[in-house]
Amino acid sequence: MPRPRRALIYAVLALGAVVMAFPFFWMLSTSLKDEAEATAFPPSLLPAQWLFSNYAQAWAAAPFGRYFLNSAIMAIGQVALSLATCSLAGYALARMRIPGRGAIFSALLATLVIPPEVTLIPNYISMQRLGWYNTYLALIVPFGASVFNVFLLRQAFLQLPVDLYEAAVLEGATHLRYLWSIALPLIRPTLAIIALLTAVRAWNDFQWPLIITNTPDLRPIQVGLTVFRSDVSTNFQWLMAGSVLAVAPVILLFLFSQRQFIQGIARAGIRG
């Protein structure tokens, strides 16, 4: 590639990167300013003094610890339940001789056309009737299985050689035994991708927890953040500190598992 063209590509990408990163920079910068500087106009690019104490104050101004715990319980619960139910179902659809297997699989795929907007209100009613309103059950169970995860896991199980299963049967293994000790360890990369995407989706989820929780002790971080917004409406430096806290775990997770993450997105193409 000729030199000037290469320089142009770098320039375009770098300019774009600045625009993409600016809101994150701005979040951090504001979160470290004092109140007078945060509301100065025109705004300063960097804080005159880096006030890390804003974080301690924001943390103390709202039950962020509890919000974090709730989000973690929700994310871990959804991951654990989803891995269990979808592994079993994906395995059954890949390897077990069941009458109507093809029909069940087609029916599952057909349900992908149902948009979540349609199910929101009836699910809210269901939670009331089940007595799950404002409980962890409501935050976890409805997301404890997804057609997409079943589909991905079925694909993974289908790619394992059949000989492997036959050898295990000769040794007297049952389906459950084979699944647990041989098949699941072999598809660990797929399990990791599903766990990662499910956890991030759960951590970032907003609409469902917004309508299904009504006390701070159940509220996950995203809902807590919008409550915090109305509580500290003019303390932008606190609000930004809270926002940084809410995105930090996911960004850290992403930095450490970038490859699996991008692979998973490219394969599954899930859009929030």
């Binding site: 990167a17 979040m27 945060a38 149902i114 929101l120 389906h175 609409q207 009504n214 919008t226």
Partner: protein
Amino acid sequence: MRGRRREALEGYLFLAPALLIIGGFHVWPALYAFYMSLFRWEIAQGAFVGLRNYQRLAVDGDFLRSVGLTVVYVVGTVPLEMAIGLGVALLLHQRLRLRGAFRLVYFLPYVTSQVAVALVWDWVFNPTYGAANGMLTAAGAPPLRWLLQPDGIFSRDAPPSLALASIMLVTVWYYLGFHAVVFLSGLTAIPDEILAAARIDGAAGLRLFRHITFPLLSPTTYFLLLIATIGAMTSFNLIYVLGGGSTTAGCAGNPLGTTEVAALFVFNRFWCQTQLGYASAAAFVLGFVIIAVTAANSRLFARRVFYA
């Protein structure tokens, strides 16, 4: 024979937990939404009203406006985020230093929560202290009211309002990295031999892209178009938070309803006005529109998709 029956039974047991959850919280509620839409249903179930909720929707100015705004939102975001995403993917597809770092930065918004990024953008667009007006002032331009401005950007009364346009800008920013990553994996999947052969035949630059790369990329493009359209039609979080929705009980106070797209219309009728039957009817219509648009997309574009 007995072994077979046992295996079938075991298989159904394996399937049961997932099917129960998907059936109970995804399929059943879709049907129940239709049932609810046939009732006057406020806090509790009321009288059966047949299709009257649907008749009411057909003449409800707010609902019709929300459908129009959804169209504006979809048309204004999806092609733009796909085009920029493709551009970024093409640039990143070359042998560059810092490639991984660039990909990381462009993709970053997509993994972060829409609530948190909406709060930052809300702060950037703050009419009194915001960075956006800071830049305008520095450039000598008059400040704008951004998310609080109900006036249209093209003409005063035509959508999108500056408020909605600002939200669309944030939407494009949020999703373009997603498109870039998926396009990039599509580009990587194109066999080098095809490109090499085309180059030997004299194709290069724009011609190579138009006649070889873009057609070979069409399955990816088609897939992205489908899910981005569905996603934009049901988009809620960004629009809700940027439109001012804040407390658990509060409702979006968007300027004069100019950012109330269909998903927000449903939410506001359901959550703020507790008209559950009416909101269900609107949700059901929205669902049907989504399925119809998806089907139309398939008919329009599927034939042009070229599977190498």
